[in-house]
């Protein structure tokens, strides 16, 4: 056995996938998004963050011998042999127009803006396709009984990809309704953060102006010195009540 470690490039196994019905051989380690690029597609739409948070790359696929519809974010889902896929970068869904500040934040306003809410038959097709595992049917159910706070909670992980709307037999734009619920919850139902108001008042009263001006006028060397030498670091094992000695700028 040799004593030096030899690095051998391992060729990824190639697998067949079907993009919009056409077969491609792609390395099995790629995400759907990279596999498409490998196959020669160029993204103009249907791709945004590449990190699983923007909801631009919803993809629908099926596997051989399986009646189920599978979904995933193209940037997060690894290819599987023989998968049939297509991307659904956008799905038309009605979005109500409203003057948010004119709303009072009650359930009846949501019912008025989205009367199709009551067309839900609890088929659960929406929850089954949600790539974020949001219980879509449950937030719609919560809204039907006027529980805006619960709907905001349940829909919190929604990234507005639109897949739920694509499957809805009641033709609901679930994610727009959920977004309105979260807006109302944030603006009208959640208690105001008092310490934030104090902080804003402190800023406006000029409490930090001097500290900031000092930093703004410092040259690069001075900034480095302040950052590396003068900055008081939080000790590794600091307890929760740790505060720096120098707290003029806090």
């Amino acid at each position: 056995m040799s004593t030096t470690t030899e690095q051998t490039a391992v060729e990824a196994k190639m697998i067949p996938i079907y993009v919009m019905g056409k077969k491609y051989e792609v390395p099995e380690t790629l995400t759907i998004m990279k596999a498409l690029e490998y196959a020669g597609y160029k993204y103009i739409r249907g791709c945004g963050c590449r990190g699983g948070v923007c909801g631009a790359c919803s993809t629908v696929y099926r596997k051989p011998g399986d009646y189920k519809i599978y979904t995933g974010l193209a940037c997060q889902t690894v290819v599987e042999p023989e998968m049939y896929l297509t991307q659904l970068p956008f799905y038309p869904a009605n979005r109500a127009t409203y003057d948010f500040h004119a709303l009072e934040g009650n359930p009846e306003e949501i019912f008025g803006l989205y009367p199709e809410l009551f067309r839900c038959v609890a088929c659960n097709a929406c929850s089954k396709v949600c790539p974020m595992d949001v219980e879509v049917m449950d937030y719609i159910a919560a809204l039907k009984r006027g529980d805006i706070a619960a709907a905001a909670q349940i829909s919190f992980d929604c990234i507005q990809c639109g897949l739920c709307a694509s499957r809805c037999m009641g033709e609901l734009p679930q994610y727009h309704i959920g977004q309105l619920a979260r807006r109302i919850n944030g603006a009208y139902l959640t208690p105001r953060a008092e310490h934030l108001a104090t902080m804003v008042a402190n800023i406006e009263a000029g409490r930090y102006t001097e500290c900031l001006n000092k930093l703004k006028s410092a040259d690069e060397d001075e900034l480095k010195r302040l950052y590396t030498e003068e900055r008081e670091l939080e000790p590794a094992q600091a307890g929760e009540d740790w505060t720096p000695k120098e707290n003029v700028c806090l």
Binding site: C120, V121, C123, K128, D138, A141, R145
Partner: protein
């Protein structure tokens, strides 16, 4: 183990007076109920088309939620929710073919075949709690109050889920009698209030609702007790329209049966949310000395 409680959507919004008074009353009675942590709208109306199975999915899903928690009984307050859940349950229990279709469709849920028992608070009080025991708990019986029991449609039809005889029911009569009221029998007690016709054909709904109210008033009723938020909408919330349209029509206070139960048990009127009733409702209870003051 506590009994699963299915509220239904309206009881969380327009029908809060039905839910809150019921929960307060059940607490006094020691009936241990717990709202299902996860439930969806039952659909409110059971589809009459034989093959319209998609509308059975919603109520069945609620029944699955009860079964999943290892509970064998679910209690309801709204008569429409009772009817929809009970009929869906009946279908799942007795129709093998449709049961299979629905279970296959709901492939993400455990199979269900009608294991859960769907009850309404009224038949629970009659069959399990017992009128005698209820009577012992009364603090402020409805003495001297002439109340007409209004059954409407969905407690008594169809016969598979009927809580009592569809034409000669006594369930609400017995309930009101137990509470100490003078029960007023009237011929329209099982007639439809107009239900959802109020949306497409409001005049027709107003007409039948008027007949119900005047039918009760003619027999000397001072008030009407009911179990359904839609009946309350037609007979209570829209009563002003009736009073305006029909000369000689007189105000009839409308109560949810649970509000009368709660006040008779001595629950504070504030907990019964009479502000969601017609003003005459709390006033009559005050006039009869059943409550000491009309809540502000």
């Amino acid at each position: 183990m506590s009994i699963a409680y299915y509220p239904g959507c309206t009881l969380k919004t327009k029908g809060k007076n039905l839910e809150k008074s019921a929960l307060a009353a059940m607490e006094v009675l020691g009936i241990d109920v717990e709202e299902l942590p996860r439930w969806n709208c039952c659909g409110a109306v059971y589809s009459l088309a034989d093959d319209d199975l998609i509308h059975v999915v919603a109520p069945v899903r609620d029944l699955v939620r009860v079964a999943e928690r290892g509970q064998d009984t679910v209690i309801t307050l709204c008569s429409m929710c009772y009817n929809t859940l009970a009929r869906a349950n009946d279908l799942m229990k007795n129709d093998e073919e449709k049961r299979k279709t629905i279970n296959d469709f709901m492939d993400e849920e455990p199979d269900y075949s009608g294991e859960v028992r769907v009850v309404h608070l009224l038949d629970y009080l009659r069959d399990e709690y017992g009128w005698d025991k209820l009577k012992e708990k009364l603090k402020s019986p409805l003495n001297g109050m002439k109340v007409a029991p209004y059954y409407g449609c969905t407690l008594l039809r169809p016969k598979e889920v009927a809580l009592d005889h569809p034409d000669r029911p006594v369930l609400m009569h017995e309930f009101l009698e137990t509470l100490g009221a003078d029960v007023v029998d009237f011929p329209n007690a099982m007639e439809c209030c107009g239900s959802y016709q109020v949306l497409g054909n409001p005049d027709a709904a107003v007409e039948v609702s008027h007949e119900i109210l005047s039918g009760a008033a003619e027999k000397g009723a001072e008030a009407l007790a009911l179990t359904c938020p839609l009946c309350d909408f037609n007979l209570g919330k829209r009563q002003d329209i009736i009073l305006e349209k029909y000369e000689g029509a007189s105000e009839v206070p409308i109560y949810y049966f649970t509000q009368l139960l709660a006040v008779a048990l001595g629950v504070a009127p504030e907990e019964c949310h009479f502000e969601l009733n017609r003003d005459s409702a709390a006033q009559l209870l005050k006039d009869k000395n059943i409550i000491s003051a009309v809540p502000a």
